[in-house]
Assembly symmetry: C2
Homo-oligomer: 102 residues x 2
């Protein structure tokens, strides 16, 4: 089981549009087989900084996410909303160590 | 609802001890009223880098966590395992926007 933390710096004028597009991606991503979580969080002291917390049962399944129609649509929509390129950090899940607890 | 991402750089020789202490804290933290998640993840390309993903129903409830016996025990145990002081970043939860979905 893995998590990718995707850090996104959004242009101030595009915050609402970014949230709308990512909320739609969140809802579709939760339907993917092997998806464990897809949270969207906004930094408390800087509303232009977001993190997407994507948990999947495996690296292969996480890679499949990037071939879905909803991901590709999100990627194209939000491209212009980003103040700089997003970056992801990959993690191995230690706890909860049972996928049924996710 | 809020998330605190706690970033911890652990000394290489203390990784197993850090995981054991934090897994115990994880199990107890899940029992706290208002706790939504308490995940422990380890960076894929650097096993000395960890993140604890702590989600609570409110800032007040998250602050209560830091008064619990299990938190105080964890804080004291892991102090010597850290290569440098840990740091936390606070986030507002955007999605899932309903606490029943956490």
């Amino acid at each position: 089981m893995i998590v990718t933390c995707v850090y996104v710096h959004v242009k101030p004028d595009d915050i609402t549009r970014f949230i709308d597009a990512t909320a739609a991606n969140h809802l579709e991503s939760l339907k993917e087989p092997g998806n464990l979580r897809f949270d969207l969080i906004q930094q408390a002291d800087d509303p232009t900084q977001f993190m997407i917390y994507e948990a999947y049962e495996s690296e292969t399944i996480a890679a499949d996410h990037r071939t879905t129609a909803h991901y590709l649509k999100w990627r194209d929509i939000v491209q212009d909303y980003m103040a700089q390129p997003r970056h992801g950090v990959k993690y191995k899940i230690i706890e909860p160590n049972d996928s049924s607890k996710w």
